[in-house]
């Protein structure tokens, strides 16, 4: 599993790094340094950075060690050379063997050619026998001279700023990292949008698990994503997480200890969840008082038993109403109307529709006791009066907004 997990990354490295290595040829610039030597020591005569190929650093072994150092005097590479003061001459001696003529020069010159490695600043020669430093050459002037001739050479750019070892490679690496980051961000965004926004999520709140399961199956069959909560408390907990927030809540009324009405109050009192449409779900007819108190808060009221089509229709109506309201608001704002006016119209229209439905339900139900009947009649009358008043206001608003609303909400 671990191998599979990292296989993609390894493949990417295999693809990218050979290409990076292929374009980097370190042996095409050199530092050429001339020294003079005398009994008093070794001195630099001149140094130059130029294009060219250097000799192999690893062939010679001798008594003088050379160190290639960066600006912090850290060793980048090293080499070894033989003592340049000693020349060994020889020929055939008269006895058949060799006649030697080793010449020790007290003064003279020699040269060092090394590959110019990015960050190279100093070249130091040390006598391995004594440990003494024979010479240290600061290449900065030679680098500056080369840089003036070839300012875009990447090694010269890195020479200016040792923190940037290779400008073009750095650019490539930034590209690669940016690509991976873009991949992660856009992929995550796509995932979130696809799962959480493209498909409507419906929260089913019912303390009877079997009923919640049946509703869930019915809704998933229709393409909705469902979540289930088995109590009002569980429902409120779910709504706190923004990434789990549903598009619609199907809320059962008969639950304990927190019933559906109490849960509804808490949902609507929380600014994070008050905009979520709630469809009340129950096997009992609401009392006129409940209709009067909560009618404003709910988007529909579904009486059990309900068939699949009835459920789909109710949810479809709510979603369609929301879509129409969104489009109407956009159209009205484009036409110059205030957003608040259109929103007030939308809220009122929803309330009138719900109130009409509730009034139909509670009017057909017959309360038992005489006193209760009087109270119920009063509540029904109150709901009716509110409905009449709301319908009048709705008509006025509709006349005002007629030009823009007629395509969305026919009179």
């Amino acid at each position: 599993m671990e191998i599979k997990k990292y296989a993609g990354f390894v493949l990417l490295l295999l693809l990218v790094y050979p290409a990076a290595a292929a374009v980097d040829n370190p042996y095409q610039k050199i530092a050429v340094i001339s020294f003079s030597f005398a009994d008093t020591g070794v001195n630099e005569i001149s140094s130059e950075v130029r294009y060219g190929t250097a000799p192999n650093l690893d062939i010679q072994t001798g008594t003088i060690n050379g160190l290639l150092l960066d600006s912090q005097h850290r060793t980048i590479d090293e080499f070894s050379i033989r003592d340049p003061r000693i020349q060994i001459g020889e020929g055939d001696g008269s006895g058949g063997g060799l006649t030697g003529d080793a010449q020790y020069s007290h003064n003279g010159e020699f040269g060092i050619i090394v590959p110019f490695i990015p960050d190279l600043r100093y070249v130091t020669l040390e006598d391995t026998a004594t440990g003494a430093t024979l010479a240290t050459v600061d290449l900065s002037p030679a680098i500056a001279a080369f840089q003036q001739l070839y300012p875009q050479d990447p090694d010269m750019q890195s020479a200016q700023n040792t923190a940037v070892p290779n400008q073009s490679l750095m650019f490539d690496e930034i590209l690669l990292v940016a690509g991976i980051m873009a991949m992660a961000v856009s992929g995550s965004a796509y995932y979130i949008v696809f799962l959480y926004r493209r498909t409507e999520r419906i929260l089913i709140v019912d303390d009877e698990k079997e009923i919640a399961e049946v509703f869930s199956l019915l809704l998933e069959k229709k393409g909705y994503v469902t979540m289930k909560a088995n109590s009002g408390k569980e429902c409120l907990l779910l709504l706190k997480a923004w990434w789990k927030r549903p598009d619609i809540i199907l809320l059962d009324i008969m639950m304990s200890p927190m019933d559906g009405w109490e849960t509804l109050e808490k949902i609507k009192s929380d600014p994070r969840s008050k905009m979520i449409p709630v469809l009340m779900l129950t096997g009992f007819t609401p009392t006129p008082d409940q209709a009067h108190r909560y009618g404003l808060c709910i988007d529909d009221y579904i009486l059990k038993p309900v068939n699949a089509q009835g459920l789909y229709d109710a949810i479809g109506n709510v979603l369609e109403r929301r879509r129409l309201i969104r489009e109407a608001v956009r159209a009205a704002m484009r036409a110059g109307y205030e957003k608040e006016t259109v929103c007030a119209y939308a809220r009122l229209r929803r309330r009138v529709e719900v109130d009409k439905k509730l009034l139909g339900i509670i009017s057909t139900a017959s309360p038992g006791a005489e006193s209760g009947r009087d109270a119920s009649f009063k509540d029904i009358a109150a709901v009716n009066r509110e409905l009449q008043s709301d319908q009048e206001t709705l008509r006025q608003l509709q006349r005002k907004l007629e030009p823009v609303l007629s395509p969305f909400f026919p009179a």
């Binding site: 294009y51 080499f79 058949g96 063997g97 006649t99 040269g111 300012p151």
Partner: protein, 412 residues
């Protein structure tokens, strides 16, 4: 729609998106570092170190890298490389843009270069080919279109190339216009190298075969040479027809500064002179062979073209750092690591024992004559030791071990 399908669909979409972005980045990466092929309608321009000169249009050839026609035309420069003397197109010319390798020219000498970066006024193009002088051009001489790089045949002529310079041992031969007669200790001034370039090239080839390529016959089988040891050398010779080394104006002779300016990659330069007359008997005569360490990239020796055995001895000094084992007026030091000379008998015996050799074979450097020359140094290699006799002999275990370890430090 099933929730699982949505979940795995999301994961799959994520993977596809990542793949597309990564591949885009990868191909963009290739795009900014490599040239592309595109024929251009702009008039051709001749580039030389002196500046741009218009040249007649040429038929563009196939380029190593193809790019689509949607690329902006002003981003491309078609480079054509030709031999300045023969006007023949030059394939396999290495091109470097701002110091970075960009690619090599195709069979027809062309390469299409994608100009990237801050602008055409600050880039450099360098063309490199064995046998030709390197050319480095600032791109303020370059305009979009077609340009011609005129490569002058170089003074450094490849004899045998087995790999890139940076991973080979580079041996360069330089002709001398002087020789020496030891019978009257006079330097002979010649009119160049006798027989000219053809004779020199022939002498170089013979010399290589008798020395560098003859190691298996004269090295110890206890330390086998790498199987591909011959492929670890590149050989060149220097010839411009007017410039020669002088093998006899000092111990190792002198080489003109022009040579050092052109040849920066040499691991060993060999001054080859035609022949040596008489027998060297020390100063005031001039030695037959002499090695000058001279630094790094500047090591050189002189030798007569017709003395391959002594040449092996001198190359032992110049390339491998072997010490003389004869007793005389020469230089002695324990040449660690892998020495063939020790500064103490115990050191020699310990080293020999540690390598499975007979410690009793360690013996002091001496002339072998009672009361004759002795030095406080010890040697192990059995006679005839070429580092002792010079004119004959072989490399023993100690010398061969050092030769092999040097060759092993080069990885072609």
């Amino acid at each position: 729609m099933n929730r699982k399908i949505l979940y795995w669909g999301g994961i799959f979409a994520f993977f596809c998106l990542g793949l597309v972005l990564t591949l885009s980045g990868f191909f963009f990466f290739l795009g900014v570092t490599m040239g592309g092929s595109r024929a251009s309608a702009a008039p051709p321009v001749l580039l030389s170190q002196e500046g741009p000169v218009p040249v007649p249009a040429q038929t563009p050839g196939t380029s190593p890298i193809q790019k689509g026609p949607d690329q902006p035309p002003d981003q491309y420069v078609r480079i054509l490389t030709i031999d300045k003397k023969t006007n023949a197109p030059l394939p396999a010319v290495l091109l470097f843009i701002n110091g970075l390798y960009a690619g090599m020219t195709a069979e027809n000498g062309s390469f299409d270069l994608l100009i990237t970066g801050p602008g055409p006024n600050s880039s450099t193009i360098r063309a490199v080919k064995d046998g030709y002088q390197d050319i480095t051009i600032r791109s303020d001489l370059i305009r979009p279109g077609e340009v011609l790089l005129n490569l002058t045949p170089g003074d450094i002529i490849p004899v045998e190339i087995n790999g890139p310079r940076e991973s080979e041992i580079n041996i360069v031969f330089v002709p001398s216009h002087t020789s020496f007669n030891a019978t009257d200790n006079t330097k002979t001034e010649l009119d160049g190298y006798p027989g000219g370039e053809m004779q020199f090239a022939s002498d170089v080839r013979t010399f290589i075969n008798q020395t560098f390529l003859a190691y298996p016959a004269i090295t110890s089988p206890s330390y086998p040479l790498p199987r591909d040891y011959r492929q670890r050398f590149d050989f060149y010779y220097f010839w411009d027809g007017t410039t020669y080394a002088d093998a006899f104006d000092s111990c190792a002779g002198t080489i003109p500064q022009d040579y050092w300016d052109n040849v920066t990659f040499s691991d060993l330069t060999i001054i080859l002179y035609p022949s040596y007359q008489g027998v060297y008997s020390g100063p005031p005569g001039q030695p037959v062979g002499c090695t000058n360490p001279n630094g790094l990239g500047r090591v050189y020796l002189k030798i007569s073209a017709d003395m391959p055995s002594l040449a092996m001895h001198e190359i032992g000094h110049g390339l491998y750092g072997l010490m003389d084992t004869y007793c005389g007026d020469t230089y002695y030091a324990q040449n660690d690591p892998d020495p063939n000379l020790w500064s103490s008998k115990d050191g020699c015996r310990e080293y020999a024992g540690g390598n499975g050799w007979d410690p009793d074979a360690c013996r002091q450097v001496s002339s072998g004559v009672p009361g004759g020359c002795t030095k406080e140094f010890w040697r192990w290699d059995p006679d005839p030791d070429i580092m002792y006799y010079g004119y004959a002999g072989t490399f023993g275990n100690a010398s061969t071990k050092r030769i092999v370890s040097t060759l092993m430090r080069v990885s072609p």
